[in-house]
Subunit: 203 residues, 3 copies
């Protein structure tokens, strides 16, 4: 029986892979290219984190991420034209993935003995760096650098984790509060169109 | 005396470096930029593989790859205008490189104790990821995501390696059959213009 | 009390971060995106070096690089429109950073037992690779592949380090002579518009 966290992890991976595959399809990638972009979107952030933490990336120890990306590709091939009606559903799934990946990244870094400020960065990498690689591969400026609160939700969630830890909360409680924060910040930011200021160019 | 594999490795590195240098010249890079792009095309895939496997990249232990890239640059500077007549020769060299790099990647991963499905991915990285970095550096969408059977030849070759191993074949035999498979799949795919389906965008 | 090298390191990091943030502002990134690009410009080269050398990246052990990037972002937000008058100052700072980062990269590699030709490459990565990642993120062809003597100044400085070492000079002396070489080569190349030849395309 998969645990609750494993189910959330699968949902998040699926949603991230779908986001990569859909952007690849808009650029007319072939099936192989779409699969690779979907896979990298899903596991890219965690891989960079694990290279920096000097541990073996999770997807090299469990083929579930490869299989999950394959299912996402099959889904888009079969039901692609209906996906646009599911945009809200995928937005929710993507936000679940973002929240879970952030919490996993923070927790893994802390368990390896890194200080909190490193853990917050690693949590943000886990949640947001896959999308940056995706955008580099499809030759676009990474979306998270210009639009919407995305990685900032990870940073806020990581800071909340830290705060909960300082107050003496159990790590299980920290994780739930932190994950909920990422999810809520992301949802509210999109709903109320909250954005960061643009840096004006003077050149 | 170099071994047969070392000679093939040199030929493959040379062909990969030439491919990077020629694309850099089409973008009017300077000699330094062309050298870097050639070098990264040749060693980028193996470097990503070795970072993931947590071993020292091969080019950091033997300067032959730097020298080989230098020879490739000198060749393009001196004989660039005749290269176009050698396109078929370089296509053969490139396919030899692809086959050899794939087999080296699969073999190295297996010898480090990784399961076969990881080894196949690592073989494909070794063969194809250098070209992805090359295309990111020249600011193009990676060619292998949109055109031709390239990395798929590595995947097929890796799967054949696995199958040979299951049948109890010696590792030397597995490597020869696997490498021949990559080479033949690549050559046939180009000759008969076999491509993967494009993923249709619905947005 | 910070040491002289720490002060130079701070100046170099600040100048590199400013260069990333200014290019991000020209692309209308938001504050978060500009911060990330500034940070990656400053620490990207050293991070790639440390991944290849299999040691923990420096910025994961000391938050000074995060703080320094934050100061650089605040500076650009507050004084952005005056920065253009300071272009010469930042050019000097950037050249100091380039020289220092190169020497640090060479020295770190040698202290880990790598041969000199690896150390020269690592010194060049430390100085120049952050700018390559910056340019990939803003979706431009990396500047150093096409214009000016930049990474070549690192290579020359690294070779001078090697030469000084062969002559029996103390490592402290090697570092000063090497760093001065990088700085002077960079300044002279820009002042006299020395460039490498462009590789002509024939296709």
């Amino acid at each position: 029986m998969p645990t609750f966290v494993q189910i959330l992890d699968f949902i998040g991976t699926f949603a991230f892979a779908i986001s990569g595959i859909r952007l690849a399809s808009a650029k007319r990638f072939d099936w192989f290219g779409a699969y690779v972009v979907g896979f990298v979107t899903a596991i890219g952030g965690g891989t960079i984190r694990d290279l920096l933490l000097d541990v073996t990336p999770g997807w090299m120890t469990d083929p579930i991420y490869l299989i999950c990306t394959g299912l996402a590709l099959g889904w888009v091939i079969l039901f692609g034209k209906y996906l646009i009606h599911l945009n809200n559903t995928f937005f929710i799934f993507d936000s679940i993935g973002l929240a879970l990946f952030t919490v996993v990244g923070v927790g893994k870094s802390l368990s390896l003995g890194y200080p909190f400020w490193v853990a917050i960065i690693m949590g943000s990498f886990t949640g947001a760096a896959g999308g940056v690689i995706r955008d580099v591969f499809i030759n676009e400026i990474p979306l998270i650098f210009r639009k919407e609160i995305y990685a900032m939700a990870c940073v806020v969630g990581g800071a909340v984790y830290w705060f909960c830890d300082i107050t003496g909360m159990e790590s299980y409680g920290c994780q739930i509060v932190s994950g909920m924060t990422v999810f809520v910040v992301r949802i509210l930011a999109v709903k109320y169109k909250v954005t960061l200021p643009i840096l004006k160019g003077h050149e």
